[in-house]
């Protein structure tokens, strides 16, 4: 990307971001005004009241800099393994999402291979896999957590299972499309080389599927993260970003909620970036193509 192109794309994004921040400040002042007025001294000037709207403990809407300060202090001023540290909670959620994502990856690819190679699976299972996506899967999260808790599985496993169940769909559909993408001509060519079924799978279908797998993976990682966060809600879990959200909402700690939200957003961006990095690495290994 040339510097001119960067300018062409960067400037609009920055302008929109600046507008968002300005609007955010305006709303922060507006929403917190009533409480600031109620708490203010009799001789407070208007300016005092306005600046008080941006310095409350539990504001209705915290100003951007308050969220930034809260994020900074909860990330950097506590030891990483203390429950006061946001890094600790983000790590708990990221671990659950990561394990879930790994489960989804294995299950999704296995299912796709089965669907492509076995007609009975294709005809009977594919319809249910698609139908399962019109069902609000997250609704079963609390039940899964409690039921698994009953048989002694707590902590990581239920969260990872929910994250995995939520994220296998884009992987499966992407892989099915990818494994089917080589046209009959290419398969015939390999057959004329006397390639076995497994060789056709490994050298043709598998290679061709990678270009379809990665867009699915990008969707899947963010879904895994959502699954892990929601799975932390029902148990009143002590750790994780979902637990921070819930605790913050119980005790009206808005700053804590916003900080956890931003941590979740950062985590989502990191996860998507990691998938992109893996794709770039694969492109490099394969000599410039996926």
């Amino acid at each position: 990307m040339t510097s001119r192109e960067a300018l062409r794309h960067g400037v609009p994004v920055l302008v929109v971001l600046a507008v968002v921040v300005v609007v955010w400040y305006a709303f922060a002042i507006l929403l917190n005004l009533d409480r600031a007025r109620a708490l203010a001294d009799d001789d407070a000037t208007n300016w005092d009241i306005v600046s008080a709207t941006m310095a409350q403990d539990r504001p209705l809407l915290p100003a951007p800099h308050q969220v930034a300060v809260e994020l900074f202090s909860s990330v950097f001023t506590h030891a990483v393994n203390s429950p006061k540290s946001l890094v600790f909670h983000a790590g708990v959620t990221a671990l659950a999402a990561g394990v879930g994502f790994a489960i989804a990856l294995a299950l999704g690819i296995l299912l796709a291979v089965g669907i492509v190679h076995m007609r009975a699976l294709d005809r009977s299972l594919m319809w249910w896999i698609i139908a399962s996506q019109t069902v609000p899967v997250l609704a079963i999260a609390p039940m899964v957590v409690v039921v698994l808790g009953n048989i002694g599985l707590t902590g990581l496993v239920p969260k990872a299972l929910i994250a995995g169940y939520l994220s296998f769909f884009p992987i499966t559909t992407g892989m099915v499309m990818g494994l089917r993408s080589p046209d009959p001509m290419q398969r015939d060519l390999l057959r004329t080389y006397n390639a076995t079924g497994f060789q056709i799978f490994r050298k043709l279908r598998w290679s061709a599927s990678m270009a379809f797998l990665f867009p699915g993976l990008k969707v899947a990682v963010t879904l895994a993260l959502v699954g892990a966060i929601v799975a932390e809600l029902p148990t009143g879990a002590q750790a994780g970003l979902g637990a921070r959200l819930l605790a913050g909402s119980y005790y009206g700690q808005t700053l804590q909620i916003w900080a956890a939200l931003f941590a979740a957003a950062v985590l989502a961006l990191l996860a998507v970036a990691a998938v992109d990095l893996a794709r770039l690495a694969l492109v490099r290994v394969r000599g410039g193509r996926l």
Partner: protein, 281 residues
């Protein structure tokens, strides 16, 4: 002897079921294409029922399908009230507002390349984020009742519609736009007669995606506090009281609502975009 009872019929059901599936999947007629997944569904339900009843799986772990059906019948009024609170009051208005706002924003930024370049990257960034997380904030702003749930739904459905509708508006080729210009059609006429119809498949895609997202948003938002009615509320409280048959009844309701709205939208899409290549015979 008691150990043999569930195992033998289970063995037979699995064998017969798998053979039936293999036979059904050979048929090419549309009837068989519908019958095969249905047969799998029946097979799974049969195995589920037999395992639960035969091996005495405790109802706090997994109630059998029969018990769930009974629970649906017994709690019909409750399910109706929850449906009204969650779907009619929160999901429908939220979904409609979010989709319309997303579409209007897409049309608005379509006029300005500057806005498009500024908003679209942020839009796709936000769509990748766990937006359900704003639920506690919305509950704080709009109260416990359905308004806060509708607000979460609006936030969740806005960005997918924005991104899809923008892609749809850009999907017409230069040739088609040139043709419109040769008819002396201005910006608005071109938008109305060419670009919006061409964007319809993308818009319907977002509508269908959003119908599921909306249901998820409303149910999860209810985990953060509600009046004592609603599907998410019922799920979380009945789980805590170990009434898993009621929870499964509620999940069945959610599944039916989700699939039905998806199917209804697909039907409307078929009628409205009959010209699209994917529907042509």
């Amino acid at each position: 002897m008691s150990g043999v009872y569930p195992s033998v019929p289970l063995f037979f059901i699995v064998i017969v079921g798998v053979l039936t599936l293999a036979m059904l999947s050979r048929g090419e007629a549309p009837v068989w294409r519908v019958a095969t997944p249905l047969a799998l569904g029946v097979l799974v339900l049969a195995i589920w029922q037999l395992v639960c009843v035969g091996y005495g799986v405790p109802a706090v772990l997994l109630p059998p399908p029969g018990a769930i059906a009974t629970a649906i019948g017994r709690h019909l009024p409750t399910l109706g009230a929850d449906f009204q609170q969650t779907v009619l009051r929160a999901v429908l208005p939220g979904w409609a507002i979010g989709c319309v706002a997303g579409l209007l924003t897409a049309i608005a930024i379509d006029c300005s390349p500057f806005l498009r370049r500024g908003i679209l990257p942020l839009g796709s960034l936000v769509s990748a984020m766990p937006i359900v997380g704003i639920a506690p904030i919305m509950v704080m702003w709009f109260g416990f009742d359905w308004q806060s749930k509708a607000a979460v739904v609006v936030a969740m459905t806005f960005f997918p519609m924005l991104v899809n509708a923008t892609a749809g508006l850009e999907s017409t080729g230069a040739m088609e736009r040139d043709l419109m210009r040769s008819y002396a059609a201005g910006y608005w006429l071109t938008l109305l007669k060419l670009r919006l119809p061409a964007a319809l498949p993308f818009i319907f895609n977002a509508l269908k995606l959003n119908s599921t997202l909306a249901l998820i948003g409303a149910i999860v938002a209810e985990f953060f506090g509600t009046p004592i009615v609603g599907m998410g509320f019922r799920i979380s409280t009945e789980v805590a009281r170990m009434n898993l048959d009621v929870v499964w009844a509620e999940i069945t309701l959610a599944a039916v609502v989700g699939s039905a709205s998806f199917a209804a939208l697909a039907l409307v899409e078929r009628t409205v975009t009959f010209w699209h290549p994917s529907f042509r015979k």
